[in-house]
Structures are given as structure tokens and as C-alpha cells.
Amino acid sequence: MISSLRQISQIARLTFLEAVRQRFFNFLVLLGLALIGSASFFRRFDFGPQELRFIADFGLGGIVFFGSILAIVATAQLFFGEIENRTALTMLAKPVRRWAFLAGKLLGIVLLMLVFVGLLTTLLGAFLWWREQQLIDFYHQLFLAHQMPTDFPDTQRVQIGGLIMNALLQWLKFDVLAAITLLVASFSNTNLYTVVVSFFIYLICQLQYIAHDNWDKIASPFLRGLSWFLGKLFPNFQLFAVGELLVFPAKIPVPHSAIAAAIGYGLLYIAVFTTLAVGSFRSREI
């Protein structure tokens, strides 16, 4: 077991090193950073104290959008890179169990997503903090000059702790997406098929709250049962979409138990999809 853990960490390390050298990763990171940086143009509009919310929405949206693309495409590329270049053949001819190989690949991608989310969240946090200081000064001067009845409202102030918690949830969501992609890759023959199917599954996961909302309206017990089953089969990504509620003070704050439940939910799906991927990969002919 210890030797398998050592192998997993070695495979993860190399997967990560390979991934950060990929142009696609660097391109998405640069694009994400540029997107967050471009939020400075919001200063040209007069959003008032709401400006920080616009910047945060814009930045968080960018992290979700590019992060989802990266989680799917990088997982598919790194998996099929090993198959097509036959480095998987060299690896699996060694005393490496197939589950350890897959776990190493997934862990490498998890690290990659951590770096991606960490970089973009750090930039977004720094940018929000910088702009917040400017706005606080600006509104304070207006307040002192009696041109404003109140100072900069506390409800518009950024909660860095909430931003970090949101980053953690998004990272977990990307890891679930990577595990789904790995499952698809474990039985599919091409990179393209894996990417397309994984994007479809991502859309289902993203939109399945519609089915949840209409649960009770379905008359047929069969269809209700089917939609219930599909609702369990695919994770509901809306559970992770609590960015604004965490980053800014909310009237009803997100309870810690809900965040813990979302983390448990994500970890459970990662474990299930990875187990299914291992089962499928075990019988795959390399």
C-alpha cells in the first residue's frame, strides 16, 4: 500500500509538471488573468458601491468558465497523451497497479486545478481589495464633505475568507468534472469523443437544478423515478454556485453546514466516478 501511495505521488508529480508545460494551460491562465485584469475598465462606468459586485461576478464567472474548460480538456489530453505516446505501456509494464496509475493522473490534475484556481483567485482578491480601498477612500471623502448621507456600505465590502471558501468549492467542482472526464476517457477511444461527452455531462450537471425544481410537477411515476435517478447519477453543480453569497455579506449567510455538505457531496462524487473509471480501465486493452 505504501509503495502504491509513493507511485501515485510520483505519477501525480509528473502529470502536474507535464500539464503546466502545456500551452493550453498557460493560454487559459493568461486569458483568465487578462479577463480579471480587464475588470479595471468597470471604473469607466458609474456602478457606485455595486462596482465590487460586478468585478467579483466577472472574475468568478471567468474562473468557472475557463476552469471548466481546463478540467475537461487537460484531463482528456493528459490521459490520451499517455495512451497515444505509449508511455502508459511503459508505465503499466512496471509493477504499477492500474488504479494507482489512474489515481496518480487524477491527483496531478487536481494539483493543476488548485494552481489554476489559486492563481486566478489571488489576482481577483488582490484586485478587489485594491479597488475596495479606493472606493472606501472616495466615499469617505464624499461623506466628510457631506455630499453622501452614509459612508461606503459594509454590505458591499469583500470578504476575503468567503472568496477563499468559494475558490475551494470551485476547485472541488473542477475535480468532480475531472473525475467525470477520466471516467469517460477510461472507456472511450479518442480524445475528441471524451471532450465532447464530458462537456455534455457538464451541461447536464450545470442545468439539472431545472429538473430538481420541477420534480413534483412530473405526473408519471416512471418519469419521476427516471428523473430522480438521473438527478442522483449526475452531480448538481448549482450546489457549488454560492460565490456571491460567500464573497459579500448576505442577509442570510450560507451556513457552515451547507458548505460542509457541498464538500462532502463533491468528495463522494469524486470517489464514485474514480472508482467507476478504475473498474472500466482495468479491463481496457492498452
Binding site: 509503495s3 509513493r6 507511485q7 510520483q10 505519477i11 509528473l14 509538471l17 507535464e18 508545460r21 505516446n85 505509449r86 508511455t87 505501456l89 511503459t90 508505465m91 503499466l92 509494464a93 512496471k94 509493477p95 504499477v96 497497479r97 479491463s283 486493452e285 492498452i286
Partner: protein, 289 residues
């Protein structure tokens, strides 16, 4: 009796093709053994089932029928793979690693103890003659160097059985010769080598035994000496052979009930000639520098 390095018994492997699952039989009822500390050549045309057999030996494919053992262990077990080193055909490695980092990576994957790893890595890099290039990135290596670093990663965990799939594919005769010497060195160190190659001269030069496959069937197996011997015929190598002697020799042979079949001019093999000439040219260029 010593446990054979590889024992394949009634191996059959079918592949299902397409949605209808049409069956393609890649290997059909194959049985052979590879003795410990022998160099064994596995030959056959493309599509003869060599790669499939090799993948079954490596535990990468499950047999449809039959079994495969490595030193008495099931070939698909992790324990068996600890005893095996493998060099794939036209190997591709992580280009951003240096040769030393690559071999070290595979050593750690094979659980070579940390305190032995640096020495073991240096030793195998020296064995394959890449010490000078060990700290260069693999992406800058020539094809021959890739084969040699591939061989280094295959033997870094000191396996008892080394499987080489087309180790000389795309390599020039000098590189080929170096790989042949490495195979002989591996045998000297007590390893068993399974060699799959289209370079028949190399197989003949280094292998003790061989098996020939065709369309999934074993068509010949045995020691190289036995298989290549022409029963009832011998060669005489004569220096300064006078034409007049031919008649007398024929008469002598006829008296003994034998017959002279033909007289050929002795020839050197083309790869030997190439190596001699290149070696001489290299020596000359070193002398004139």
C-alpha cells in the same frame, strides 16, 4: 528442473471488433518456454501475433484461453512485473525530463530504495553509454539515444527478465551494434532477454533460441543452431583455393559417397563491412585531427 523465465501454455487471444463484436484471433493455441538466462528471439511478419504475445507476457492483455507465467508467477500479477523490464518499440518519454531524471523517475516507480537510487541510476546510464548526455533533456536525444535511455529505464530495477520490442527500429548500424553488445552484456549479468526484432542478422547474432510466429501460430521454435543447420551439409572455408584443386576434391568426395554442391566466394556480411569501414574512417579522422 529450473523454472523457465517465461512459460506460455495454449495461449489464445481474440479481439472483438466493431459493434457486432466480430472476433479476430490474434494468437492461436501458442505454447513455448523461454529458459532462464537465455536470449530468446520472437520473430514473425507484421500481424503475426508477436506484439499480442508480448503484451500478454507483460500483463497488459488478458489471454482469452491459456496462461502465461513469468518465473512461475501469473504474468498479470504485480509480483511478476517486478521481475520484468520492458523497452517498447519506438519509445516515447517525457521530453522535459533529463535522461537521469527519467531513469530516476522509473526507478522510484519500481520502488528502488531511495538510498540506492542515485547509484543504480548512474550505473545503468553508464551501462547504456549515456553518461555524457545524462543531464540533457530527453527531447534533444537522437533515436539511438532514446532506445538506450529506454533500455536504461527497463533495467534500472534490476529485473530478471528484459523484454525488448524492436530495440533497433530506426537505429543506424552502429547504434544497432551497441544494442547487440548490451544484450550480450545483460545475458552475461544473468538476465533473460526476450528480443522481438525484424533485424534477423541481429537475432541470429545474439539469440540462443527463437520462435517464429505466423498468423498467430507457432511455425518454428528451438535453438538458433538447430534451426539454422542444414542437415547433411557442411561448409569448408579455404584460403587461396586453386581452380585445379576442384576436380581432385570432387574425386575425393565421390570416393566417400559425398558430392560438392557449389563453391561460393566467401563474403562478409554487409553490416559487418559497414561497421569496419565506419570504424576505420573514425580512426583515420581522429588521427588526422
Amino acid at each position: 528442473m529450473a523454472v523457465p523465465a517465461i512459460k506460455i501454455t495454449n495461449l489464445t487471444k481474440d479481439f472483438r471488433l466493431g459493434l457486432r463484436g466480430v472476433k479476430l484471433r490474434a494468437v492461436d493455441n501458442l505454447s513455448f518456454e523461454v529458459a532462464d538466462n537465455h536470449v530468446f528471439g520472437l520473430l514473425g511478419p507484421n500481424g503475426s501475433g508477436k506484439s499480442t504475445t508480448m503484451k500478454v507476457i507483460l500483463g497488459l492483455l488478458e489471454p482469452t484461453i491459456g496462461q502465461c507465467e513469468i518465473f512461475g508467477l501469473r504474468s498479470d500479477s504485480v509480483e511478476a512485473r517486478r521481475l520484468v523490464g520492458y523497452l517498447p518499440e519506438s519509445p516515447y518519454f517525457y521530453r522535459f525530463l533529463t535522461g537521469r531524471e527519467l531513469v530516476d523517475y522509473y526507478a522510484s516507480i519500481c520502488n528502488v530504495p531511495r538510498n540506492e537510487r542515485a547509484k543504480r541510476v548512474a550505473d545503468v546510464i553508464e551501462l547504456v553509454g549515456l553518461t555524457a548526455a545524462a543531464d540533457r533533456r530527453v527531447g534533444t536525444y537522437s533515436k539511438g539515444m532514446l532506445q538506450r535511455i529506454g533500455l536504461a529505464q527497463a533495467v534500472v530495477h534490476d529485473p530478471r527478465l528484459v523484454i525488448l520490442d524492436e530495440p533497433t527500429a530506426g537505429v543506424d548500424p552502429i547504434g544497432s551494434e551497441a544494442i547487440s553488445e548490451l544484450i550480450i552484456e545483460l545475458k552475461r549479468r544473468g538476465k533473460t532477454v526476450l528480443l522481438c526484432s525484424h533485424l534477423l542478422a541481429q537475432v541470429e547474432g545474439v539469440c540462443d533460441d527463437l520462435a517464429i510466429l505466423n498468423q498467430g501460430h507457432l511455425v518454428a521454435a528451438g535453438s538458433v543452431g538447430e534451426l539454422l543447420r542444414r542437415d547433411g551439409q557442411s561448409n569448408l572455408v579455404v584460403e587461396n583455393f586453386p581452380a585445379a584443386a576442384k576436380v581432385e576434391i570432387e574425386a575425393v568426395l565421390a570416393r566417400h559417397g559425398a558430392k560438392l554442391r557449389h563453391i561460393d566466394e566467401a563474403r562478409v556480411a554487409l553490416d559487418r563491412l559497414f561497421l569496419e569501414k565506419i570504424g576505420a574512417a573514425d580512426t583515420h579522422s581522429k588521427e588526422t585531427q
